[in-house]
Symmetry: C2
Subunit: 203 residues, 2 copies
């Protein structure tokens, strides 16, 4: 997935448990492709980021009015983009395993298809993405072997994910999805188009 | 500002201290007019709403990374819409006086012009909107008499503002700006177009 030097690129920072990351993940490749922008897929974990902000849970659980708006808003957004939407039993989902696997694939050809397969299962079908068999299925859908689940548990992968979360923090990321273009940070799925325009130098 | 029965309308809930309310307030009338939607201007206070959520300050102050993004984002948004932007010395601004006056004008012909005059002074020029002379100037710009400042201090106006904040809470509003179309709530200035389309029945 390497782009020509100087080609416009956007860092797409997402979290599988993040509801708004779902429509962003499903939309970004076609939108970016149409604008000639390369996507750098960057899975991370919001838990440590929220914890550093003093939050022990998602703001959507901590603030019920905000949560009610989010669920209805997500329903509207998914309908507008023709995406299935089913609320999973637990929110936020335990996304650690999926995130480690996505990290292994973030710069590999199978990465984006795997990410979409996980998001569709988690937020489109309401599946429990903490279950290894769900992630194995998503790997198969992306044309990869479920044997990658083992690589996801190695100390190297765990360390790499910790480093990725630290990098998110360094970039000033405080929520998901976030888009990074050079030093510019854009937060929220509805800023996707703005971030892509910025990457093209039209911001 | 009354609309024909059945004409599409949107409730525009804003707070003068809210940075994102500024571009929304400057943009909404022309956008709504172009789409044949009537705007119901609804000033309110975020302080009591945040307090009920357990927050003693703006989330942008409580969470520095979120605050840094907001200031840069606002700068980008204002530039994109050709709006002046100057950060006022104090954030959030003390908006009580301006809000009481805006309440008096919310369904009067001078209301929208007054609201824009306050927002331009507060976020466009960085003036202190807690100063009565700034609000008096904004009233003059809207073609009204500064004598209205006295009416803003009556028990009736204070009670009316309390009732308006209670109505915001009843509607599920947790931040500003918010747009209300029937039972549908849209939060955030970048949802303006979506809310207007919803009001037209195209949501």
């Amino acid at each position: 997935m390497s782009a020509p030097a100087g080609a416009p690129r956007v860092g797409f920072w997402f979290e599988f448990a993040s509801t708004y990351s779902y429509p962003a993940a499903m939309r970004i490749e076609s939108e970016a492709c149409a604008k000639g922008v390369t996507v750098l897929w960057r899975p991370f974990l919001l838990g440590p980021i929220f914890a550093a902000q003093g939050m022990a849970d998602s703001p959507f659980n901590l603030h019920p009015a905000k949560g009610r708006h989010m669920w209805r808003d997500l329903e509207r957004i998914c309908a507008a983009h023709g995406l299935p939407f089913t609320r999973a039993p637990v929110f936020p989902a335990r996304s650690l395993l999926a995130t480690r696997v996505a990290l292994l694939g973030q710069d590999r050809p199978w990465g984006p298809a795997f990410v979409r397969a996980v998001f569709r299962r988690g937020h489109g079908e309401g599946a429990d993405i903490a279950a290894p068999e769900v992630i194995a299925d998503a790997l198969r859908e992306a044309g990869e072997t479920p044997a990658l689940l083992e690589a996801a548990g190695t100390p190297e992968t765990k360390d790499a994910l910790r480093a990725q979360v630290a990098e998110a923090d360094r970039l000033g990321i405080f929520g998901a999805p976030s888009f990074v273009v050079g030093e510019e940070l854009f937060w929220g799925q509805d800023r996707l188009e703005t971030a892509l325009d910025w990457a093209r130098g039209e911001g």
